[in-house]
Amino acid sequence: MHIFRKSDSKTNKESEVVNLDSSDDFKEFTSKHSDSSSLELRRKMNRGIKYFLMIMAIFASLMTLFITLYLIIEALPVMTSFRQIRELLFDNNWNPKEEHFGAFNLLLSSLIVTFYAIIIAVPFGIGIGILMAEFLPQKSKKIVKPTIEIISAIPSVIMGLIAFRYLAMIIQQTSFALGLQELLSSGRVAITASITLAFMTVPMIASLTDDALSAVPSNLKKASLALGSSNWEAVSKVSLPHARSSIISAIILAFGRVIGETMVVLMVVSNNPALNKGWFNPFQEIYALPSAIAGEVGDIVIGDAQWSALFFLGLELLFVSLIITTIGRNIATGKISFKFITRMFKKEYWTLKENKHSKNDGYFKLFTMRLRKTFTRKVPLKENKDLNMDTRNKSKVKIGRFFDDTIQEKEETINQTKTELRDYYSMFRKNSSTKKKITERTFKIIFYLLLGMIIGALLIVFGVVVYDGVQNLWPIDFIQGPSYSYMQAGHYGYLKSAIGTIIVVGTAALIGLPISTFAGIYLYFYIKPTNRFCNILRNGIQNISTIPSVVVGLFGWGIFVNIFGWGKSILAGGFTLMIMMIPIATSTTIEALKQVPFSMRHNALALGSTKWESIKDHNLRYSFPSIVTGYLFSISRVIGETAPIILTVAASVYSPSIFPDSLINTGVSMLPFDIYILGLFTDKLYPNSFSWAMTCALILLLLAIGLFIIGQILRSKFQVKYE
């Protein structure tokens, strides 16, 4: 009966009930049970589980490395000489048939599309973000925010289809009506894709802006209001500058995400790598990196030069988005500062009043000195941000915090407030109040207009899909998939593809969700947030989400389809989508775990439970509804992924049964693929193909948005507040 491990455990299992009438009875009874044989088992279990969780977390976080390494290996044949690499990176003659692989224009095309998409999305995103954070009443925010977020749940292939059929036409006709044929002879140009991508990016920028502004200490804003500033002044002069770095980071992160987006550009823009109209002209046809990968992978010989070149493109795309995203994240965490840019625009910066140097020193010397000072300035590091960028500002529970915040922290914010206020105080006095009101109202109106436009566009998208797609919903054709011969006769059925989609995504969920949950539990409970190992694991998992989906598809195609020899099949597709699911599900799991305070676990520990028991019986159990909500959310995010499934599963198959026959070596018809294929057919060759594409889009939209909305509702329902 010692409290040490070596204690000999004499087992005596009590099967009959012992009467506990007096304290002595009870004492004897519990002492008998305090060193039963199960203790050793519990300890082993505790240790075993810990290692199991660790392996899962390591596996998940090594995924990015696997993918990168594999891409490098496959791309090696075209990287043997410096000349070859130079050609790939800087030449602009992309002609695979003649073995010319100059991919410079492909990268440039991607940059053009992305650049204009972001330029268009930024005013909308920031405007709506400000509106949500500062002006909308709490009640309407509760409706507006999820509505805006629904946009991000629309599968990109549907947006591509709509833009291809409608937006391109509208743009073309407008340009003809305005007599701008020379500028714009076709609608299938970069700007059309940019507009579509911008629409899809607005929710990301808006919600990150909203988070950043909501994270501004409320006393800061209140204090400036108390000094007589208008609401808008408080926002523009206090909150916005305070949240500046987070907003800039949001924009850069959005850039990193859009550049990997495949389907819209692939479907909307006519492929043309020439870029005749100059480098930054958006009114021309382009050929973007992801389009090249997704479009050309189908018809190449394994192992030839084009194969390697495509993997090189994948690698290039991966690195570009990784670098951009890393920069964005580091700005958010304060490791890279953009303050010096804004400072340089101020007069005082150059006049250097406080400087000790005399005027005789010369302008150049002062300039260089100033520069050196700005760049060597120490930037305070903020805390390591959590996995989920969207929600990182919301959580207040800090890992490892046992009790209340330290007083020191509070004092820091107060001091910060004081100094910032002093800076702004003088400004407020200058403006007169009527002028203030007018500016405030003007900005408010502009923001509401922006919001209205976005919601209008969302409604139009829904409207178009429903209007065009609803006619084919009934009667259900139980067997047919998009088989060409049947299509020519106008026959098609969506049911089989819907089932195929569910099966493939279900396979992905079956493998990916447990891994993510285990990894999330390990990251949240088992590693100290200050640990370097923890940072590596977290960043590893986070980085998966920055890999463009087409690159994941390329990896899946190389590994699962070809090397494992599974062919295009459910397994290959399931594993590929699993990779995409892991980062999302891991971060939703961590967010869910954060909702239950550590004190639950501590109370269990104080009763003598092992660490694993304290997690399993309490924190995990109480947060499980939220974790399941996260599952739904993750599934809704990958169900519309198109590029990866084009490469790994989807095929136009005709077979007499609704369900696929085999897990490997048989392609499956899936909704996103059907939308892509049917959408690009012409109605002359295949009657009704467009309306059938829209029917598929409607079903897919219902699946994706349905899961998303159910997830949102469940989330708000299960968000238990533990005091």
Binding site: H2, I3, F4, R5, S7, E14, S15, V17, V18, N19, L20, S23, F26, K27, T30, S31, H33, S34, D35, S36, S38, L39, R42, R43, G400, F402, F403, K528, P529, T530, N531, R532, F598, S599, M600, H602, N603, A604, L605, A606, L607, G608, S609, T610, E613, D617, H618, Y622, V720, Y722
Partner: protein
């Protein structure tokens, strides 16, 4: 910068200084429940408990008093090693309990914690039924017999003086109970595994005066069977219920003596100042 970083890394490693010979016999007199020797505790570089020496008497109530941030909770949590949950902790010295040094690497925390129970400041019932709350400690120890579990629940609730209030609603969710009842539920939960020592960290801080009185009476009663250590801000509470009082200040143990002596004629000026409310 790099030096700082290195320092951080060293300090965040959890360490327990354990250079004593394991075979050494830690015999302490029978009337002493725990003996603290040259004990230090660090949060990273912050030394929160400084060189404390004292004896905790068996079946007595020992009160820890002192201004906020003086290290009462930290010291208290060392007795069942709950401090291990905080990143960057470090123990130094000895706490001898059950003839062993519990601040040692080889200590089995599961067994230690079933012998040294703890009740936290905020009542934290698990969001489950009252019955499940109490039975949890026994269930994880492998007791599955329902009748037996019910007996344990009944006994523990009776001992905590809660039985008459909740025996009709054993299957209600425990979070529906009043704050005072919740705290007594937490006490009953701790009693269900029969610890030898129970640690209370300001158990009445969030309760109304009546519930506080009930719990204070309960503590006096519990001291017949258990050794009790309580950290408290209330001088009245310490004076009313405790047998021994330790006054801590900035992590140091300033004075430790019989409660009567401390409150009537303390040896140290600092203690007197604190008790008479003469410092802020």
């Amino acid at each position: 910068m790099s030096k700082e970083k290195k320092k951080m890394q060293i300090s965040t490693k959890n360490r327990i200084k354990d250079n004593q010979n394991q075979k050494r016999d830690y015999k302490i007199p029978a009337e002493i429940a725990a003996r603290v020797k040259n004990f230090n505790f660090y949060y990273g570089d912050l030394r929160a408990v400084k060189n404390v020496n004292l004896d905790i008497m068996k079946n007595k109530i020992t009160a820890l008093i002192g201004p906020s941030g003086c290290g009462k909770s930290t010291f208290l949590r060392s007795f069942n090693r709950m401090n291990d949950e905080i990143p960057g902790f470090k123990y130094e010295g000895e706490i001898i309990f059950d003839n062993r040094n519990i601040v040692s690497k080889t200590t089995d925390l599961i067994e230690l914690r079933s012998k040294v129970g703890m009740v936290f400041q905020k009542p934290t019932p698990f969001p489950q039924s009252v019955r499940k709350n109490i039975a949890y400690g026994s269930k994880i120890r492998g007791i599955k017999n329902r009748k037996q579990l019910n007996q344990i629940v009944e006994f523990s609730l009776k001992r905590a003086g809660l039985w008459s209030e909740v025996n009709e609603r054993l299957d209600d969710i425990a979070t529906q109970l009043s704050g005072g009842q919740q705290q007594r539920l937490c006490i009953a939960r701790t009693l269900s595994v029969w610890p030898e020592m129970i640690l209370f960290d300001e158990p009445c801080a969030s309760l109304d005066p009546i519930s506080t009185n009930v719990i204070e009476d309960l503590l006096v009663d519990l001291a017949k069977d258990y050794t009790v250590i309580i950290a408290t801000h209330s001088m009245h509470q310490a004076a009313r219920i405790s047998n021994k009082t330790a006054f801590m200040y900035m992590g140091e143990l300033i004075e430790y003596n019989d409660t009567k002596k401390i409150f009537e004629k303390p040896d140290e000026q600092l203690t007197e100042d604190y008790i008479t409310g003469r410092f802020g």
